[in-house]
């Protein structure tokens, strides 16, 4: 069921006023927690009513008492759910940049003085994670948020929800945390080799496979060739690493927006992104030219990040 637009607008205004955006830790206060019965809670109430009807019919005083005890339990479930969220501290860390179409993972840290069980975090329908927190400790969970568009992805309002302990009630709250992550354009799959398409200028070095000088390690990314994985290193580390090579005689390429014979801006960006990644992987030197921006020939992780950032924020600057 889709909510009408006016309702959604009002809701957003109300949410912004009630849950101000926090750049630091936000603490869930009592007036920021909402509780409503779940379907199971309604079924429970119906059961209690049936007990009550039986009590009236059979004139069983203790069955009256039991029905009322059930109502009391429902009420206690409400309080427990409320307290499972009350006073919870929420803060967010820096997320790693991602490519469009992937999930950005925001590290959400939950800090609590007491044990909290089965807290569900969500930012939109497709991103839900659950967490337990031990008393006087914190828990970091990675909240996935789909990166649909390149550019800055702002962390949406995070909903914290608890149906613990009884599932009779659903208690929830919102945390508006100031966090954003850069989303790079989606690299074009099966992009033509950049060696052929782009003009190799500025010194006209002979291109060679840059595998002679070992230059260092960088973190493995999906798509990297398996034969370049540093297996010895992998046995020691938690993550896989890729061996990188420095080849001073390697070719240099300039990737120019204007040279591409593609229709849309997005597909150009997509192609350029694919080339930047490929050239970085190959260890080639490369430069990037976009309308209004030119990045010099260089190589290495910092250059790669600079290029991808320029691609991600392209339209915003133009």
């Amino acid at each position: 069921m889709k909510r009408p637009a006016w309702f959604e607008r009002r809701r957003q205004t109300w949410l912004t006023r009630r849950h101000p955006t926090s750049t630091d830790t936000t603490r869930l206060k009592h007036n920021q927690i909402y509780v409503l019965p779940t379907g199971f809670g309604f079924a429970f109430a119906v059961t209690a009513l049936l007990v009550l009807i039986g009590a009236i019919n059979y004139q069983l005083s203790l069955a009256y008492a039991f029905a009322f005890l059930m109502f009391g339990i429902g009420h206690a479930g409400l309080l427990q759910g409320f307290r499972n969220l009350l006073g919870l501290h929420v803060t967010v860390g820096q997320a790693e940049p991602v490519f469009t179409g992937e999930n950005a993972h925001f590290p959400i840290r939950l800090i609590s003085d007491k044990a909290r069980i089965s807290i569900y975090l969500s930012a939109g329908r497709d991103s839900v994670v659950a967490a337990n927190i031990q008393p006087r400790s914190s828990n970091e969970t990675w909240l996935p948020v789909p990166a649909i568009q390149r550019g800055w992805l702002v962390l949406p309002t995070v909903q914290l929800e608890s149906r613990y302990p009884t599932q009779l009630c659903r208690a929830w709250s919102y945390a508006r945390l100031a966090a954003r992550v850069l989303v790079y354009p989606q690299p074009e799959s099966n992009a033509p080799p950049y060696q052929l398409a782009s003009n190799s200028d500025e010194g006209g070095s002979v291109w060679r496979r840059g595998e002679d000088d070992f230059a260092g390690l960088r973190r493995y990314q999906p798509g990297d060739p398996i034969r370049r994985i540093a297996w010895k290193q992998a046995a020691r580390d938690e993550h896989l690493s890729i061996k990188q090579f420095d080849s001073p005689q390697s070719a240099a390429y300039r990737f120019d927006w204007h040279d591409l014979a593609l229709q849309s801006a997005e597909s150009r960006l997509s192609r350029l992104t694919a080339w930047v990644l490929a050239a970085d992987l190959a260890g080639d030197r490369y430069g990037l030219t976009l309308p209004g921006t030119t990045l010099p020939l260089d190589h290495g992780p910092a250059h790669r990040t600079a290029c991808l950032t320029a691609l991600a924020l392209f339209e915003a600057q133009a």
Partner: protein, 652 residues
């Protein structure tokens, strides 16, 4: 073919919790069944637990259906119905048990939990004792705790969940109490379920055979309890009048049911008002002192033409009735319609008991009063023994055998023989069953089955029906002192009635007072009690300002209580821990001569420490900041930092 095996995705620990909860919940209902039936109902529970333990798949659908249908069939065969109170409850128990076999996901488990709650509520159909309430609270705790297990991410059911469930019950208590007190009580059933067969019950029956009261004397369960308004009558006049037996077949006495005219009577002496709390006996008669009068009697109670107080409905639940009685009276015999009844009360079987008949025939010339006196003199001659070990009177002439051979009998034997003599002598007479005496426990009277008694009523000209107790002349102590003092064979009586068990009897009386209070204020909390309680609080009407005041006051008090609890719980532990670390640090500094002054806050003091101990300046600032963050900024995560800095602090 589609496979009907259901994979079992349920975590084991909560599942075991669910099985345990169901077993607990079913137990009160299973006690009402034959052992084999109870075992059959428990079987699916054990099976399901075993499947989970071995990690096996659930049984195929046809087997589950066979299981459920089989259990239902057994219920139908046993009860001849699937609805109604008893059959319905056993059906519910069977379905709960069968449902567990197909419980394969958390949703099923939750639905089953709801059924478990309902079945727990139904346990009060079995009993409404204090113990049953305690037991159902345990059941509720276990059901609620396993419900928590289904919510956990780790699939475990640690003991802390039972503690949490306990807390929830404590939190539920004020709400439950408030609702219990103020929820309006309806005074009649909403609908009538199909009549349930009355179970076997002890107590008087509508037929009196030789030996039937002897059996009752051995049963010390409570028959009813009485509260008197004002001073109760003396113990020897506490004849609780029950069924009136008028038809005699030579051996057994039975009630006659044809209606006759109610004799008009004139009360002499005071009227006693009292409330009888009757244990269920599955009969319609009530027990009132003779003679019950319409006085304060409520609706639903009727006085029959045989001067019996009866309820309009069979008493299947503990029942409280208010009755009025007079102890002495005079009846007019001018009503010709009554003669028919009086003639019936002189009838005897044509044959049998020649000697008794001959004895009574000899009194025919005397006045009715003199005939009565003669019969009592005969019984009071000292030749008769009042005993629980009366021989069986099996011959064709039981009255003759009793009066002239064995001379040993219990109250029903003497009442029967006496009425036989009176009828043979031409005096209208009948047997009355009921209870005699009782035991005062502070301000109320307990009457037990042991006090069951049979006596006679004879019609005397000018006086009407008058009570005559032949047992009183055989064993005068029975009326004045109770059964244990007067009967031979008293060692067969229940232990607590025997004279040498005084302390036990005292303890039992105290316990009975608790039970009776429970019955009056908890079980018997009905419209009447509710109005009485509200009346004591000064509330006469639900819409009165006073009631609204009480209600809102109570609700407000509850809310304030919750608020206080919430506030007290909020990070108090962290703050205490922070203060502890701070004090530890202060103790270290006190050795260096650094003590915070009264006007110095933590920040100022930390700065002073930093100036005095330059080597520790950084640590001092960090401790001050962490302490402030924990205590005042409500940032519990700073506690660990505070602890680390204090532990690492080395002044100097």
């Amino acid at each position: 073919m589609r496979t009907t095996h259901r994979r079992d995705d349920l975590p084991r620990q909560p599942l075991y919790g669910l099985v345990a909860a169901l077993a607990l919940v079913l137990l009160p209902h299973l006690t009402q069944l034959a052992l084999w039936h109870a075992a059959l109902i428990l079987l699916p529970l054990a099976w399901r637990a075993w499947l989970a333990w071995r990690g096996k798949a659930l049984p195929p659908r046809w087997l589950r259906l066979v299981c459920a249908a089989g259990l239902m069939l057994i219920v139908f065969v046993q009860f001849r119905t699937l609805i109604g109170r008893d059959g319905g409850v056993v059906l519910l128990a069977s379905l709960v048990s069968a449902k567990l076999l197909e419980t394969a996901n958390r949703r099923d488990a939750r639905i089953l939990s709801l059924l478990a709650y309902f079945t727990t509520g139904a346990a009060f159909l079995v009993s409404q004792s204090f113990w049953m309430l305690a037991y159902t609270i345990v059941c509720t705790l276990v059901i609620t705790a396993q419900l928590h297990g289904w919510q956990r991410l780790d699939g475990k059911l640690p003991w802390t969940e039972y503690r949490r469930a306990g807390w929830m019950l404590l939190e539920a208590l004020p709400v439950a109490l408030l609702l219990f007190v103020i929820f309006p009580r309806l005074s009649g059933p909403l609908w009538q379920m199909p009549a349930d067969k009355p179970g076997a019950s002890s107590g008087l029956s509508d037929r009196m055979s030789p030996g039937s009261f002897t059996d009752l004397a051995l049963d010390d369960s409570v028959a009813f309890r009485v509260d008197f308004e004002g001073k109760p009558p003396s113990k020897s006049s506490l004849y609780w009048r029950g069924p009136v037996y008028e038809r005699f077949d030579g051996r057994n006495w039975e009630q006659a049911f044809g209606t006759t005219t109610t004799p008009t009577y004139e009360a002499i002496g005071p009227t006693y008002n009292y409330t009888v709390t009757l244990e269920p006996h599955n009969r319609s008669w009530l027990l009132g002192l003779d003679l019950p009068t319409p006085g304060k009697t409520l609706s639903g109670v009727r006085i029959t033409s045989r001067l019996q107080a009866v309820s309009e409905q069979v008493v299947t639940q503990r029942k409280r009735v208010t009755l009025s009685s007079v102890l002495t009276w005079k009846m007019a015999d001018d009503n010709p319609a009554l003669q028919q009844n009086l003639l019936q009360n002189q009838m005897l079987p044509r044959l049998g008991n020649p000697r008794a008949r001959a004895l009574a025939e000899g009194w025919r010339n005397l006045s009715p009063n003199a005939r009565l006196a003669a019969a009592l003199t005969f019984l009071g001659s000292g030749k008769f023994t009042y005993t629980l070990d009366a021989p069986l009177l099996l011959g064709p002439d039981p009255v003759d055998t009793l009066l002239f051979q064995t001379r040993e009998g219990f109250c029903e034997h003497y009442a029967s023989a006496f009425v036989y003599l009176m009828r043979a002598a031409g005096v209208p007479a009948r047997v009355v069953g009921g209870y005699l005496g009782g035991e005062f426990n502070d301000n109320y009277l307990i009457v037990r089955q042991t006090d069951a008694h049979a006596w006679a009523e004879v019609w005397l000209p000018g006086l009407g029906w008058q009570r005559v107790d032949p047992t009183a002349v055989v064993a005068p102590g029975r009326v004045t002192q109770g059964i244990a003092h007067s009967v031979r064979g008293a060692e067969r009586l229940p232990l607590l009635l025997q004279e040498n068990a005084a302390w036990l009897a005292a303890a039992r009386l105290r316990w009975d007072a608790v039970v009776y209070g429970w019955d009056r204020w908890v079980i018997g909390y009905d419209t009447q009690r509710q109005l009485q309680l509200f009346g004591q609080l000064g509330i006469d009407d639900f819409s009165s300002p006073r009631f609204i005041g009480w209600l809102s006051g109570t609700l407000l008090a509850l809310l304030l209580l919750y608020w206080a609890i919430l506030n007290a719980q909020r990070s108090r532990k962290t703050q205490d821990a922070a203060r502890q670390q701070w004090s530890r640090w202060l103790r270290m500094l006190a050795k260096q001569g650094l003590v915070p002054s009264a006007s110095e806050g933590p920040r100022d003091f930390a700065q002073r420490v930093a100036r005095h101990l330059p080597a520790n300046a950084l640590a001092a600032h960090a401790i001050g900041a962490a302490y402030i963050a924990t205590r005042y900024a409500d940032r519990p995560e700073a506690l660990a930092e505070l602890r680390r800095h204090v532990s690492a602090f080395r002044p100097g």
